[in-house]
Amino acid sequence: MQVSPRLALTLLAVGLASAGAAPARAQDSPDEPQVAGTLLRWFTDSDHVTVRSLSTDWAWPLAHASGLTFHYNNEKVMIPAVSAPPGSQEAIDAITTASRPISGNAFQDFVKQRNEVEGEYARGAGAVSYYVSSETDYLAQQLGGRWNRDFRQQSVNLSLGSSWGWDAIAPVQDDDTRTGDAHKTTLHWNAVMTEVVSPSLLVRWGLEYNLVNGLQHNPYRNVYAGGTNVPERHPEERQRRDAFVRVNQALPNRASVKLSYRLYNDDWGVTSHEVGTRLSQYVTRGLSARWEYRWYTQTAADFWRSTYTGVDGVGGFLTGDYRLGPLASHLFGAALRADLEAFAPTRTFVRRMTLWLDLERYFNSNNYSANVVETGVDFRFP
């Protein structure tokens, strides 16, 4: 199914125009302060890929139940050089299946930067947002809108959201692939219901749908087929849908447990299950600790193979990318969060700060693992 940009924008406009006049008070917080936050994130994996992220977020409450939010993120990505001896089979394998462009010298690190900006204006029950992400070979833009309304004495909130994304892809020169400039569009819809079930229990569930059209394979990857290696080729259309439920339960002794489950399915044949748990506990006033575990499993795409007998693959499509293969993963995390209002002397700006530190260990069934360290500070303005 092909969705034209005009149709998508029309659908988006209709959705936004339906934003009713009834304010959503469960989401409405006129007393919320202006908040600014900054974050440093360091990602490193078993392939020695590193990603350093530095981001900032601002939230300005405005008059008439409206507000602005702004997000900026800068990322520096480093994909290391092929470390195998030049000319060896190991080096040839690494080069032909690389997810990075290789032009001339594969024995050199590949470094690129990505900048991302997102802004949202919310008023009453509706909100509109714009997102742009730019890097050497990829420009992504997205226009979004959402609307929400309360029911049952503000105990139930229904949120409907939609977005239209259009990406321009301009692969840089690569010695063993020849993908030209391409594009990708994403039409997204979601419906999310949040319910205050009891004075200690929140439940949220949602349905999401994405229709993706355009280039969806990594333009730099090859796969072994018919005794040689050929560029990967994915279908141009993908329908992706998921349903999720989240349960947040406050526990006695200033603790909480959060449980989540997500079921995902698409028309490429991938079905996945995700289960998440988070346990939080205040150690002392203002200082909380959190433990996290996430389990994930997925089936392979119908056309995924580690190698193909012929160059036509399965139905004309080929991929050896492990992300579309059978996969199971685990994530363990621990975090500390300190609201300095509980520790600093009165009438100092330090009392307006919250500091946090988050450590994560991720690993999957493809002998892949990664470590993530995040630290940040949030500041509440007077």
Binding site: S155, E195, S198, W205, D242, F244, V270, Y296, L327
Partner: protein, 76 residues
């Protein structure tokens, strides 16, 4: 109808039942103090969840779970 759509139909029906089952006496605003605590509220972890989804999207074959979508990826 393919197997995926059946699974989704079933999931939607179960979710609808779950919400219907939650329909009890509405909780009064003054009874919600614990629900706005940062260790309980959904909002407190929304940014973190969006960041994590982006990381998982780059390394796994699925997406979703946070009620929104993004684009672009500085990943390998």
């Amino acid at each position: 109808m393919n197997r995926g759509l059946w699974i989704f139909g079933l999931a939607a029906a179960l979710l609808a039942l779950a919400v219907g089952g939650c329909a009890t006496v509405p909780v009064k605003p003054w009874q919600r103090e614990r629900l706005v605590d940062p260790i309980v509220a959904f909002k407190a972890e929304a940014r973190e969840d969006a960041r994590k989804m982006k990381t998982f999207e780059a390394r796994e074959g699925s997406t979703g779970g946070v009620g929104g979508a993004g684009g672009g990826c500085a990943c390998k």
